[in-house]
Point group: C2
Chain length 161, copies 2
């Protein structure tokens, strides 16, 4: 069975117990920027309810032009004012480096990506760099940003200061 | 109370009932690309368990260079082979257009963004365009991509063919 068919089946159960409509603007006026990692179900992990927060996710939870686009839309069109970053332990991006990754993709597809994979070594340093990039971002109306690291082996979230 | 402090408090409860460690590679070998909308808690909505799937989210759930970077990492480093797109009804990006949005940001910050907001009018057409972009992407090893629209007023997911 294709994954989408399993998802459509599971969704029928979700729709049965659907909690009802919510406004498009996030109730808690916050946007979360997190890694795409499969071990982070962000709503229960952060205590979010349907309608509470925007959730932006990519490989690493890093700040790219697309992250900035999404946050700018979140703040200007939909009224969010705080940003919370969620990186995590045991990230796939700590297990490679940008050159090895480009080599791997070129070997397997015949094409070398022109973009960087954004690998990193120190997760706390990576969170601090993301906070710095957002505090310097000229398109946001609020630069209230704080960062965390999630421990995928204990379920605990820790603030990076 | 800052939003992060509420999240840290809620996370302590999550950690109490933490289901245990899982491998970094997604068990169901699937990556979900979805909009950042606050009304979509993707894990329960799609029947995903901790460790099942990568989750990539941005404004609109659109395909950008960052989406391609994340999916390329997902497939080459972490073994996913299917992609499922989740767009939705009543999207914030349907309520503006790229020029009005750039005008708004320039008026509020004094800086005009050099990137497009990626607004759209027809959600089904937007899903089809995203599927096309991914099927043409040269860096992926698998282009098994299917797309859906989530109805934020009923909780129902519908495949776009």
């Amino acid at each position: 069975m294709a994954e989408i068919d399993r998802m459509l089946e599971a969704n029928a159960e979700w729709a049965e117990r659907f909690p009802g409509s919510k406004p498009v603007a996030p109730a808690r006026k916050v946007a979360v920027v997190a890694c795409m990692d499969s071990r982070m179900p962000l709503f229960p992990l952060l205590g979010l309810e349907v309608g509470d927060a925007h959730v932006i996710r990519n490989a690493g939870g890093v700040v790219t032009e697309d992250t900035v686009r999404s946050l700018t839309i979140s703040q200007h069109l939909l009224g969010t004012r705080e940003i919370v970053l969620v990186h995590h332990t045991d990230c796939g991006l700590q297990k490679s480096n940008d050159v090895d990754f480009a080599d791997l993709v070129e070997r397997e597809t015949g094409r070398r990506p022109p973009w960087s994979a954004r690998t990193f070594t120190d997760v706390d340093a990576d969170v601090r760099e993301s906070m710095r990039l957002l505090r310097d971002c000229p398109y946001l109306v609020s630069r209230e940003v704080r960062g965390t690291v999630y421990d995928v082996d204990t379920g605990r979230l820790r603030e990076v200061t």
